[in-house]
């Protein structure tokens, strides 16, 4: 892993600043994620999640998917984070440290996560070992994205709107107080 990073750090000198940016952003995201799953404070965890989501949006920008990045910011950071914080609030989560957030057998989760990571990394490295992104890619035009949505992917789009409707109504039904 370190060798890889080192390798990529070295190669970033060649490939440019964008790559360097990516590493910074990726590092921030990973650290924030780790902190998120280990912190004892619920609110801190929410805030760490916020950081992760932001860095993910930055990654999108690096990859040239601007529209997706913007949507990420608007939906995730704007709506979902608010939702989660509301949830934290409504469930009277203890403000401040809460020593009771993890259950006792953390090693199982660690084990599973590690195994999963190992498998995934192995397969990725084996398959895309030296695959490079096209060096001359430019940012994707929103126009292109919308063209695709409304032509090729029109059916999933409509289905999605129905799904959102169902989720909306479902959430209300489930959580209403009567």
């Amino acid at each position: 892993m370190i060798a890889l990073l080192a390798n990529e750090a070295l190669s970033s000198v060649e490939t440019g600043v964008a790559n360097g940016f990516f590493f910074v952003v990726a590092g921030v995201a990973v650290i924030a994620a780790l902190k998120m799953v280990t912190t004892q404070n619920v609110v801190h965890a929410a805030l760490y999640l916020l950081v992760v989501l932001t860095s993910v949006a930055a990654t999108y920008v690096i990859l040239g998917a601007e529209f997706v990045a913007v949507t990420q910011v608007m939906v995730y950071l704007g709506a979902i984070m608010v939702l989660l914080l509301f949830g934290v609030m409504l469930t009277r989560a203890k403000l401040g440290d809460d020593t009771d957030l993890d259950h006792d057998q953390r090693w199982i989760g660690a084990l599973v996560a590690l195994v999963t990571f190992a498998v995934m990394t192995y397969s990725v490295v084996e398959e895309f070992g030296s695959t490079k992104l096209p060096s001359d890619f430019s940012a994707t035009a929103t126009e292109e994205v919308s063209n695709q949505i409304f032509s090729t992917y029109i059916v999933p789009f409509e289905a999605l709107s129905v799904l959102l409707l169902a989720a909306l109504i479902g959430a209300i039904v489930v959580a209403r107080r009567d």
């Binding site: 990973v30 995730y76 590690l114 995934m120 490295v125 895309f128 999933p156």
Partner: protein
């Protein structure tokens, strides 16, 4: 830029999210971890979309964001219900399906 970077980055986030799902007791924390997982998938999709020059990846990433939003909404509704009924959102206590 190597494609690998993004893929490994996504894998990392995914595994951290899995760890979070398995370890966290709090329902809301679990939902957060799930968000992490979904985001990792998004990164994967977009990376490949850029690699292949196909916009479809990004389109799907948008769809997944929408679905994630719906899912969080419903999930939180369930957690709230659970809190209302039991005064606790420890998911270990939702064991009525115990065989």
């Amino acid at each position: 830029m190597f494609l690998n970077e993004f893929l490994i980055f996504a894998a990392l986030l995914f595994c951290i999210g899995v760890y979070g799902v398995l370890v966290r007791k709090n329902g809301v924390m679990v939902l957060m971890s799930i968000e992490l997982i979904l985001n990792s998938v998004n990164i994967n999709l977009v990376a490949f979309s850029t690699y292949n020059g196909d916009v479809g990846g990004q389109v799907f990433a948008l769809f997944i964001i929408a679905v994630a939003a719906a899912e969080v909404g419903v999930g939180l509704a369930i957690v709230l219900l659970m809190y209302r009924n039991r005064r606790s959102i420890d998911i270990a206590e939702a064991n009525l399906l115990k065989g």
